[in-house]
């Protein structure tokens, strides 16, 4: 198979080094991190710090094992970006060893074993997230609730966050602390509504209370702002996020229209969970996604459809990580069949051809 050759999007303008692109993406997550810290306490920041340290250590260890220039590759900020994306994706008071496992797996197995940045077929952050989600489901499902809805009187202090993450407290106290502050995410609440209709669920399930929904709306808006910044800087193109959100909108709109008693509205799907974060920060990874613009549209739409399928009928409340991994898996084939027309040729090379190269 002839691989699709396209000038790397990073090198289109002078002065746009890999490190600059990575720094800009990290900066674009700041609105989201601020909102998450505001709503859910210091846990997110502590997670990001743990993740960054682990990522740099793992990257340096593997680079030195492979006898590569350690400082040169550490300075491209790609390991830090993976760490930041994972740190904000994990629940705020997840124990430290979950974060360390996720980041170490992401850097070592999803990235460095394939040869480092530019060679990884799967998005490292989502590999790390998926591996801890299937391995440690209990700590991974403990999201913090908004202040007005949980039983605790005051917000989680910095010390309490540290205690919860590093598990300084005896088990009983630690459980009491966690129980006082955690509640299900809206997607989790909607998934476990069982026999309730959608309207009953929104009125009775605490996780679907308007205050909790609003907090997730703010998180998603913050990532939308960061993502628009990346679009404005032309670090990402519009194709993947628009296709992803569009497909999610169409899927949820269709099933809401068919069965509005049991399905959640498109607005709910677009403003809860990792919809915006996934659309602008995860799916747009230039390495593991498709290369051509047509390919990006197919890739994004595939993720959107899979997110809805997993959210509505699957076993996990949110499907962004799995949907992205599944489409990463399909990306090389999509690239192969969505090659743009070569200048001077009549038609693009598409379609199924057996034994052509033999």
């Amino acid at each position: 198979m002839a691989l699709l050759r396209i000038t790397s999007p990073h090198t289109q303008r002078a002065g746009r080094r890999t490190a600059w692109v990575m720094q800009m993406v990290i900066l674009a997550t700041i609105p989201g991190i601020v909102v998450q810290t505001w709503l859910f306490g210091w846990g997110t920041l502590i997670n990001v710090m743990i993740a960054c340290i682990t990522a740099l250590l793992c990257e340096a260890a593997i680079l030195s094992l492979r006898r590569r220039a350690v400082a040169f590759f550490l300075k491209d900020y790609s390991a830090l970006l993976t760490a930041v994306l994972l740190g904000v994706a994990l629940p705020p008071i997840v124990p430290w060893w979950v974060t360390v496992t996720a980041v170490a797996f992401a850097i070592i197995f999803a990235k460095q074993i394939y040869g480092g940045l530019g060679n990884n077929p799967f998005n490292p952050a989502m590999v790390g997230y998926a591996i801890v989600l299937v391995s440690f489901p209990v700590p991974m499902s403990q999201w913090l609730g908004v202040q007005s809805l949980v039983s605790a009187q005051d917000t989680l202090t910095f010390t309490q966050s540290l205690q919860a993450i590093f598990q300084f407290l005896p088990v009983v106290e630690s459980h009491a602390l966690i129980d006082a502050y955690t509640m299900a995410t809206p997607l989790d609440g909607f998934k476990t509504k069982d026999l309730l209709t959608a309207e009953e669920a929104f009125n009775t399930v605490p996780a679907l209370h308007a205050a909790n929904l609003n907090s997730w709306l703010w998180v998603n808006l913050a990532y939308l702002v960061g993502g628009l910044g990346l679009l404005w800087l032309r670090i990402i193109t519009w194709h993947t996020p628009v296709a992803l959100l569009g497909a999610l909108l169409v899927m949820s709109g269709f099933f809401y229209g068919v069965d509005s008693a049991n399905a959640a509205s498109p607005f709910f799907h677009l403003t809860t969970g990792a919809a915006m974060f996934g659309a602008f920060f995860i799916a747009t990874d230039p390495v593991s996604s498709c290369t051509s613009n047509r390919g990006k549209l197919i890739y994004g739409a595939g993720i959107g459809i899979l997110i809805y399928i997993i959210r509505a009928w699957g076993g996990y409340p949110d499907g962004v990580a799995f949907a992205v991994l599944l489409m990463n898996f399909a990306a090389p084939l999509i690239d192969y069949y969505s090659q743009p027309r070569t200048y001077g040729h009549q038609k693009a090379k598409t379609g199924l051809k057996i034994g052509e190269d033999n």
Binding site: G115, P121, A130, W313, G314, F322, F329, P332, Y336, I354
Partner: protein, 193 residues
């Protein structure tokens, strides 16, 4: 109608034979080097699997069961599968010499694809009916083809990656297959069968 659709979704995605049940890994690793070869192998396997699940159903229900010979099921299924593969080989040779040349040694090797025997045995243990058996075999084959083709496209990309020497070849292929199996865990509990 719905149950037939559920059988297909279950066998293609949720209980994918390669990535969830880990059957048929030999052709999965062996034929995934080139995209064109894998597409040919996928089509041949689909044909063989569907036909052999039909034949093994008939063998079990009309020969083995009436004579109380259920204990011979494994060996008779192996025989049935070998016959079906030989038949496919003859058909492919006549109809598409090019495909026959591309598939080469892999066509006879379908005989040893454990997914083919696995489908026949699972059809018995799940007590699938006539139509269910055929659909189960067809769905298993489509799921196998689906991941085989995607995997071969991905392997062509990995072949040009800067993989550490000790992991080159099958080792990185196995790790990739593991990560793909991780991705397929997203389909858990999509349908219960």
């Amino acid at each position: 109608m719905t149950e037939y659709l559920l059988i297909l979704v279950s066998t293609i995605l949720v209980n994918n034979f390669v990535l969830v049940q880990f059957l048929g890994l030999c052709p999965f690793m062996g034929v995934s080097g080139k995209l064109e070869t894998s597409i040919g192998m996928a089509m041949a396997t689909t044909f063989v699997l569907t036909l052999s699940s039909l034949c093994s159903y008939l063998t079990y229900n009309f020969i083995l069961q009436p004579f109380g010979l259920e204990y011979l099921q494994t060996i008779s299924f192996i025989l049935v599968i070998a016959v079906v593969v030989q038949f496919t080989e003859m058909v492919v040779r006549k109809t598409s010499p090019l495909l026959y040349r591309v598939l080469g040694i892999f066509l006879p090797l379908i005989t040893t694809n454990c997914a083919v025997l696995g489908v026949a045995l699972q059809n018995i243990s799940k007590q699938n009916g006539f139509v269910e058996s055929i659909l189960y075999g067809f769905g298993a084959a489509v799921g196998f083809s689906f991941v085989l083709v995607l995997f071969s496209a991905m392997r062509e990309r990995i072949n040009v990656a800067d993989v550490p020497v000790v992991f080159k070849g099958s080792a990185i292929g196995m790790i990739t297959a593991g990560l793909m199996a991780l991705a397929f865990m997203g389909f858990t509990a999509l349908v219960q069968i």
